[in-house]
């Protein structure tokens, strides 16, 4: 259990099925407020499923999900994003044939009451953060490179003003030279007070970024710890670092 601080997200005995296949067996863990937490594990170990369950895209078979003080399992994605959880899904799920600025406006969709002025202000703020996106605001999302696409996906999620950001493989399909930039970005967001729960295949980056790491294996929690401690364990050395 990660020490210190309040709990932002709490999962209790989560069980999820894909059709008749059990994807998540029995998982409980906490995500402390304003930290970066990574979920690691091989393909099919249930990492993405957990994120989808949190954001409401998948129904639970059993278990509870608590966000801050309220129970959110069984709610629709619309309700959950209103609570302040944004999800940058696998392969980003951008709207490929919409412009960058339309994608950003979609990010603010859940804020029904926001006036046009507020939205413009927020868009401007996001553009300051991602200056390249401003240059490309009129181009279609499909024309963006991997790194820019990821920036757009994160920017879109920020438009919803989330307290918790779920990121599914933010570094996938990104040129090695840009990986560091995205890593820095994730760190920055965290420093601005956003809690981050991410799933990543790039082991070294997630060890570098995270405050706490959970490793899943076939739908169950195998091991957890702070990255410094974890990288010394036999288990991690054997299965991930290949030594």
């Amino acid at each position: 259990m990660p020490e210190s601080g309040q709990t932002c997200l709490k999962l209790k005995n989560l069980k999820v099925h894909y059709g008749s296949l059990e994807a998540v067996h029995d998982v409980s863990f906490d995500v402390p407020t304003e930290k970066i937490v990574s979920l690691l594990g091989a393909n099919g170990s249930g990492k993405s499923t957990i994120l989808k369950a949190v954001s409401g895209l998948m129904k639970l078979t059993r278990g509870e999900i608590w966000f801050q003080e309220s129970r959110i399992d069984g709610r629709s994605p619309q309700d959950i994003i209103l609570k302040g959880i944004a999800h940058v899904p696998e392969r980003r799920a951008l709207f490929p044939h919409m412009t960058v600025s339309d994608n950003l406006l979609m990010g603010a969709y859940s804020r029904k009451r926001a006036t046009k002025k507020e939205l413009e202000k927020d868009t401007e703020e996001v553009y300051q953060y991602f200056p390249v996106l401003r240059e490309k605001r009129k181009s279609l999302a499909i024309t963006l490179s991997g790194g820019l696409g990821e920036q757009l996906a994160i920017a879109r999620a920020l438009m919803a003003k989330p307290k918790l950001l779920l990121m599914d493989e933010p570094l996938q399909g990104i040129a090695p030279s840009v990986v560091r930039d995205i890593g820095k970005l994730i760190n920055d967001l965290n420093r601005r007070g956003i809690t981050i729960l991410m799933v990543e295949h790039n082991i070294s980056m997630s060890f570098e970024l995270s405050d706490w790491i959970y490793i899943l294996e076939t739908g169950e929690l195998a091991i957890q710890g702070a990255p410094e401690d974890l990288s010394q364990t036999e288990y991690v050395k054997q299965s991930y670092l290949g030594v």
């Binding site: 059709g19 008749s20 296949l21 059990e22 594990g41 091989a42 393909n43 099919g44 170990s45 996938q172 399909g173 090695p176 990986v179 295949h201 790039n202 082991i203 070294s204 980056m205 060890f207 570098e208 294996e217 076939t218 990288s231 991690v236 050395k237 054997q238 299965s239 991930y240 670092l241 290949g242 030594v243």
Partner: protein, 261 residues
């Protein structure tokens, strides 16, 4: 493996595959020697599965050739490749979801039933005998991969680990000389990993040449004789597991250049 390698059973020569503007494989060449277990490793997006797809006829390569015992088999259809004795498993389990495990394996023996159409239409005695033989073979296959208890369950209802075993058994059905396994260890518990590794060894001991794609390097190094490393569509190294482990280029490609361990 210091002795001069025997004549290769499969030669991959300058294979290139483009999808639209994307190059999935670029000028990849290597050999597969009879009786060995060859590991193909590389990070996500290295083109490993595409390589299998090219060898087994699912895709036609944009350039290069594949030779099987000296014969050019580039561009043959999947069923022709299977007839040549090269069969494969799939990474994300491709199964007959509504068929029982037993029926799966009977189906996989398809190529080896001699009965013609009329025999099976009129249920001749010869056909019945043939069918019994096929069923016996299917049972044996089931036992071999450790699925004998699961025989009546539907493919779609199996747990992930059993689906993996069934996938391998399906590939063994046509009695191949060369078996290509696509990430047989992904998402398995350490116990199951050991089981599957033992199974792969047992397959090799039966005289089948095995080529394995894997993401999990540590486990793979426990069984393979040689390793080929792909990264972003190119072969960056080839050699014994010990050499590969310490190859700087491999470590960089694989771990993103920031290993601390």
């Amino acid at each position: 493996m210091d002795e001069p390698s025997p004549k290769p059973i499969l030669e991959i020569r300058n294979i290139t595959k483009n999808f639209g503007g994307l190059t999935a494989l670029n000028d990849v060449s290597f050999d597969l020697h009879p009786g060995e277990i060859l590991g193909v490793i590389g990070p996500n997006g290295a083109g490993k599965t595409t390589l299998f797809d090219v060898i087994t006829g699912r895709y036609r390569p944009s350039g290069g050739k594949v030779f099987h015992k000296g014969e050019d088999i580039t561009g043959l259809k999947p069923h022709q490749i299977v007839q040549k004795g090269i069969s494969r498993s799939f990474q994300l389990e491709v199964l007959f979801k509504n068929l029982s495990v037993f029926k799966h394996l009977v189906m996989s023996r398809h190529l080896h039933t001699q009965v013609g159409f009329w025999g099976s239409f009129f249920r001749t005695p010869g056909n019945r005998k043939e069918e019994e033989a096929t069923e016996a073979e299917a049972l044996e296959l089931m036992r071999f991969v450790g699925l004998e208890v699961q025989g009546d369950r539907l493919g779609g209802n199996l747990s992930h680990g059993y689906q993996k075993s069934l996938g391998i058994a399906m590939a063994l059905g046509p009695a191949p000389e060369i078996l290509l396994l696509d990430e047989p260890l992904s998402a398995l518990s350490p116990k199951r990993v050991t089981d599957i590794l033992d199974l792969i060894r047992a397959i090799r001991d039966k005289g089948v040449t095995v080529m394995v794609i894997e993401h999990n390097m540590g486990a793979l190094f426990r069984i393979c004789d040689r390793v080929v490393v792909l990264s972003v569509g190119e072969k960056i190294a080839e050699g014994l597991p010990e050499e590969i482990k310490h190859n700087q280029r491999v470590i960089e490609a694989y771990l993103g250049g920031a290993v601390r361990a």
